[in-house]
């Protein structure tokens, strides 16, 4: 289920003792203020399980909460490391809430975040209630929960899954265990070897915790007959690399002939055969219910939720066929998903299936928008920490643009739908000629390519990244930014005047980070004009090429900069807005400075404000135009 370290767990115990004296206070409650929920994530985005739970949690919370709830997501256990640099994470979380009310509730997602929170509870807002969510109950057993803590735990009986395997494939002799490596893997190995003792006469379990990822794949390809792969968790490998389960499952299922089994419902469709699976949707929904109850004043100690166990038997039809498993062998009442549709006969269904896949992709992207990752001191100093802070800010910023994805995707989806339905009608009435069908298919293809571009454009902004040093064309930065923002500027009826130079203008740096600066500036401009009459909402975006610099200015006709923030506009946590953390401009300026440039703001004589980003040109240093990056 999740990463876990024994050492951290001992620390948690020690800290709990120190915390016994901490008083429990009534959180200040005022109905017009949004409730702040701090969500501590165990893993970076890309984990099918945690992304799924998080998306369900957010969606259910939004539909259930009576009051406004603001969620802030942070990853406390970093990807690719067995041990987190915990001190900076705590510093960052504390600095986030310095000079403001502590969060109303902390929600942890998964084992490592739970262990982290228990270890550092004293310094992490000890009076704030905590919900330990999606954590294997084995990890909570050793120490009792405190009065202001509760849990929505999971309890997975892995022997049930082994029984599933034996019922479907009675000839199975070898089980290839994929548990990742490191302390978590050691924990699971010890636990499961004990649980699996009863199969000693029948099955051989192969453990892989000492393998690198490449070695793991090599071994998986060469499995003896009558083997199955048993996938336990996303995690690190012996080399310290980390990746989401999606890729691991894809690699295993394309390279190995052995069927793959795993307990997480979120993996169905990604390569596992199925069986009794954990319902991710139920977890997220239950967590949202508990959050609503706590926000409405219920004491966490009074909320006792049974650990969630494996649910109904569910299978992937494609994997069943691949593993040659007859549906007659499945437990009665099994839910079989992903049945293949037939092409022309069920054209409508196929279209809907394609739509479903695309919508699912859209949902997934929207889910990803709500992702999280920052362990970070508030002062942005080194390039490394800039990259991290920028990641966090970019995700928060991009989440505000989530609506635009649905809108943008609706155009190509509409085109695909109408073209395919037209094709179906023509074929049904014998009016289809090869030419019209070819035109229809090439339009469907073009629409699909466009949908992919939209998804990619947003995905690029969501990717965690190191700061790049590449020649980039400022024009492409501006164009991509405008494409990301077009929905919002349109929806808010803002007149946008864009002045671009005719020739490419090259600077050295990071395309995504510069786009982030412009997105931040444009969002600020849009928000500054929220109360401006629609007819006078204007943004002038100008890009001017000077001898040594490229100067991009964003001028709005909004309320202008208040005198109260004079001189500290670019300081962290200074904000004039009711929403947001006030960290966007700090990061924007840090990004400008990392590019050896500047970012300044002033009020316009005729109202509104202008932000000016100045970047040194690098034409002289760029060796050839071919190296210019354009997405």
């Amino acid at each position: 289920m999740s990463l876990f370290t024994a050492r951290r767990f001992r620390n948690a115990l020690a800290s709990t003792l120190l915390l016994l004296l901490a008083p429990v206070s009534d959180a200040a409650q005022s109905d017009d203020v949004a409730r702040q929920v701090l969500v501590l994530q165990s893993m970076d985005r890309g984990s099918l399980v945690f992304d799924g739970i998080t998306a369900n949690f957010r969606a259910s919370l939004q539909s259930r909460a009576g009051t406004r709830v603001t969620l802030l997501d942070f990853v406390v256990a970093p990807a690719g490391l067995n041990e987190a640099p915990e001190q900076p994470v705590i510093n960052f979380l504390q600095s986030l809430y310095a000079d403001r009310n502590p969060p109303d509730l902390i929600v942890t997602m998964g084992g490592p975040a739970a262990a982290f929170t228990r270890t550092h509870r004293q310094r992490l807002f000890p009076q704030t209630p905590v919900l330990f969510g999606a954590v294997e109950e084995r990890f909570l057993r050793d120490a009792a929960l405190k009065e202001n803590e509760t849990s929505v735990a999971v309890s997975i009986d892995y022997t049930k899954l082994i029984d599933d395997i034996l019922a479907l494939l009675p000839a199975t002799r070898n089980v290839f265990m994929v548990t990742g490596s490191g302390p978590l893997s050691a924990f699971w190995r010890a636990e499961l070897e004990r649980n699996f003792k009863r199969y000693d006469n029948r099955l051989t379990f192969t453990w892989t915790d000492d393998l690198s990822y490449d070695q793991l794949l090599e071994r998986a390809v060469a499995l003896p007959p009558r083997s199955v792969i048993f996938y336990i968790t996303a995690g690190t490998f012996a080399t310290g690399s980390w990746q989401g389960e999606g890729r691991t499952l894809a690699d295993l299922s394309t390279r190995s002939n052995a069927p793959i089994f795993g307990a997480q419902g979120a993996w169905l469709g990604s390569g596992i055969v199925g069986g009794h699976l954990l319902d991710v949707e139920d977890l997220g929904t239950t967590m949202a219910d508990v959050v609503v109850r706590i926000i409405n004043g219920e004491s966490p100690a009074d909320i006792k939720i049974q650990p969630r166990s494996l649910g109904a038997a569910t299978f992937d039809a494609r994997q069943l066929r691949r593993a040659n498993i007859s549906e007659a062998r499945l437990p009665p009442g099994s839910d079989i998903r992903f049945r293949p549709p037939s092409l022309w006969r069920d054209y409508r269904e196929e279209t809907l299936g394609l739509l479903g896949a695309l919508s699912l992709q859209a949902l997934l992207i929207i889910g990803l928008l709500y992702q999280r990752r920052a362990r970070q001191r508030a002062e942005v100093e080194s390039r490394q920490s800039l990259a991290l802070a920028a990641d966090a800010n970019r995700r928060v910023t991009m989440s505000a643009l989530a609506g635009s994805i649905a809108h943008e995707l609706s155009q190509p989806l509409n085109s695909i739908l109408h073209n395919s339905q037209a094709g179906k009608m023509l074929v049904a009435s014998n009016r289809a000629t090869p030419d019209t069908l070819r035109d229809i298919l090439s339009d469907i293809h073009a629409a699909d390519v466009r949908a992919t571009q939209i998804v990619e454009r947003h995905r690029l902004m969501l990717k965690a990244r190191q700061v790049d040093e590449k020649p980039i064309d400022i024009q492409s930065v501006v164009r991509e930014t405008l494409a990301l923002m077009s929905h919002d500027t349109n929806a808010r009826q803002i007149k946008l005047d864009v002045t671009l130079p005719t020739d490419p203008c090259v600077v050295t740096g990071d395309q995504v980070l510069l786009q982030q600066v412009l997105v931040n500036l444009l969002m600020n401009a849009i928000e500054a004009m929220a109360n401006t009459p629609a007819a006078s909402r204007r943004i002038a975006l100008q890009c001017e090429v000077r001898q040594n610099d490229a100067v991009i200015s964003v001028r709005d006709s909004g309320t202008g900069l208040p005198a109260t923030v004079d001189g500290q506009l670019f300081e962290p946590f200074v904000t004039t807005k009711t929403s947001g953390m006030g960290i966007g401009l700090t990061i924007a300026r840090s990004i400008a400075e990392a590019h050896r440039g500047t970012l300044d703001a002033r009020n316009n004589p005729d109202g509104g404000a202008t932000f000016t980003l100045t970047l040194p040109r690098s034409e002289a240093r760029s060796t050839s135009a071919g190296r210019v990056e354009s997405p």
């Binding site: 155009q411 989806l413 509409n414 085109s415 695909i416 739908l417 109408h418 073209n419 629409a447």
Partner: protein, 205 residues
């Protein structure tokens, strides 16, 4: 039967072509336009059919185009399509007479059903409009004096009262009345009153 025309206004070429193909496959005559202006300059009060209109256009909001068309007396029924359904927009559009307000991606069957309804509405309103025009042209034949008498009759006045009000003889009124009935091609006061309602003459004015 002559195919009925559907005017598709959408700035997105791929989306426009998909919708065009669907409507063509369903047997409609289709004309496409990439902007509000292109459409606006191509149609007038005589244009027939219906409009499939994207809410967001580069030059003008589809909802504003709806108002502009109404002001110019272009009676084409409108089916809106939008990628981003805002409830206030849809309420406004429907209040102003839109046939439907659909969120993209729009299922083909749903769109075809809406287009069929719009075309039926257009045909029905054409008939009503033609009838109204016919009545109006009859009314236009009345002389100013006859119109005056017409209004008094509509108020339910007797010939005698009309004569007193207009200070002319009752005999003249009878003559006017006969002429009015003849020109308006009606045979009873009931028909006369219905005609007045249909062409929108207000007897109290």
């Amino acid at each position: 039967m002559i195919a009925q025309t559907v005017h598709v206004v959408d700035d997105d070429e791929l989306a426009r072509r998909g919708t065009e193909r669907l409507l063509l496959a369903a047997g409609f005559d289709v004309r496409t336009y990439a902007s509000a202006l292109e459409f606006f300059s191509a149609v007038d009060a005589e244009t027939r059919g219906c409009i499939v209109l994207d809410v967001r256009l580069p030059d003008q909001n589809g909802l504003d185009l709806q108002v502009a068309l109404a002001e110019r007396d272009v009676p084409l029924p409108i089916v809106f399509m939008t990628g981003h359904a805002a409830i206030p927009d849809s309420v406004r559009a429907i209040q102003r007479g839109a046939v439907d307000f659909l969120t993209k991606p729009v299922d083909g069957d749903v769109l075809l059903a809406a287009v069929s309804r719009a075309l039926e509405q257009d045909a029905a309103s054409r008939v009503a409009r033609a009838h109204r025009q016919n009545l109006r042209s009859r009314y236009d034949r009345l002389s100013p004096r006859e119109r005056e008498v017409f209004l008094h009759l509509l108020r339910g006045q007797l010939n005698k009262q009309v004569a007193a009000d207009l200070q002319i003889t009752e005999r003249t009124i009878k003559l006017h009345r006969a002429n009015i009935f003849q020109k308006l091609e009606v045979t009873s006061m009931v028909e006369l009153a219905r005609l007045a309602i249909d062409i929108g003459v207000d007897p109290t004015a």
